[in-house]
Symmetry: C2
Subunit: 217 residues, 2 copies
């Protein structure tokens, strides 16, 4: 009898990539075992949080030793998409779009940048690593025919919603939004926000709050 498990909570999913990074570093250092205390120290968490997080994935630890580095790496990788190839397209061939396209870590983690698009005549035809920038006119056909799973939006804010519509229409199931704009998508399509400005604003607040505690009359 098979029963459905609840999905892994979002706060956990956001920590898993950091575990994976840490575990890979340990693997490179030839470590065989890693304890919840090791992971907690490395990521500034409590050992309780680490064990709770790992309980969400299919990994079993060994009392007195911890978790097997190789097993943890494999399972974390699978949960985060490294166990299969995921086709992704990038829309926007500016510096940010090209940076992602050429990022070796993507392909090392199961993400295959299948195409990159731009609407500027001057950009179309340009080489980006092994790819050639395609006209945005070809987006629908390429995404559909290639059964592309996800799209990255790296265009100016004014174009972001239009691009999102085209990607969804062409069949992608998820969008990574790097644009400084709000996107509306149909139910069932996933969006992850990844605006760097927002992270810098978050940092600016943290720095200021720690320096000058807020006060009220």
């Amino acid at each position: 009898m098979t029963q459905s498990l609840p999905p892994i909570p979002d706060p956990v999913i956001r920590r898993l990539p950091r575990y994976l990074t840490h575990v890979r570093e340990m693997k490179k250092a030839q470590e065989v075992w890693v304890s919840s205390a090791d992971l907690a120290a490395g990521l500034a968490l409590t050992t309780s949080t680490v064990r709770q997080d790992i309980s969400h994935i299919d990994v079993t630890g060994v009392p007195k030793r911890g978790y097997r580095v190789a097993e943890l790496e494999r399972v974390l990788g699978n949960v985060l998409g490294a166990g299969a190839v995921h086709r992704v397209v990038i829309v926007g061939a500016g510096l940010l779009g090209r940076a992602l396209t050429l990022h070796a870590e993507l392909s090392e983690n199961g993400f295959d940048v299948y195409a990159i698009f731009d609407n500027a005549k001057s950009a179309v035809g340009r080489k980006v690593g092994p790819l050639t920038v395609q006209s945005i006119d070809k987006l629908a056909r390429i995404v559909r025919d290639g059964r592309v799973e996800m799209g990255v939006i790296a265009v100016p804010p004014a174009a972001a919603q239009l691009v999102a519509n085209q990607l969804v229409e062409a069949g992608v199931r998820g969008l990574l939004n790097l644009a400084h704009a709000h996107l509306h998508v149909p139910h069932g399509i996933h969006i992850v926000e990844a605006r760097l400005l927002a992270r810098l604003q978050q940092l600016a607040y943290a720095v200021r709050a720690s320096r000058t505690p807020r006060s009220a009359a």
Copy 2:
């Protein structure tokens, strides 16, 4: 009598940039008032969350009308650092580092990219907009003399911790980490993680989880 307020919780701070974007769009559309229902609809939140979030900042709404767009924009901007100039340096003059350096939205939001550094001879001296890529040897002096507040780490993982150390040593109070590596910093120094691969992994999980619910024996 002045009393200290608790800092704004992190989940709230992470939403504020999205409110600001939305409010600016409404301002551009000449709207004068915005209700919690407008904001909730635009950002996929409940009206309760919106009102609770706004209660953390110094904005007062008006029953039957909502919040003044101009006031909300001003106060949100101040909280997120737009009310002053924050000097930032970027370390790493690859595509990602250059993308951020040239991102007009940074300067429009109070962030002044003061310098960009790289350790490669071939990169040093190159123009990035109005800036010239500096050798990393000059980082300590430039950051210290310029009283730079924050540093962005856009270097390969192997160099990330070294760069973080140098930035902290030179006096920055916050780090934006774009590198695929774990950073350790002294107490009191703030780090915000902004690894794009992690966001893509989060998206891949969400897409897969919605398609094939997990099952267990």
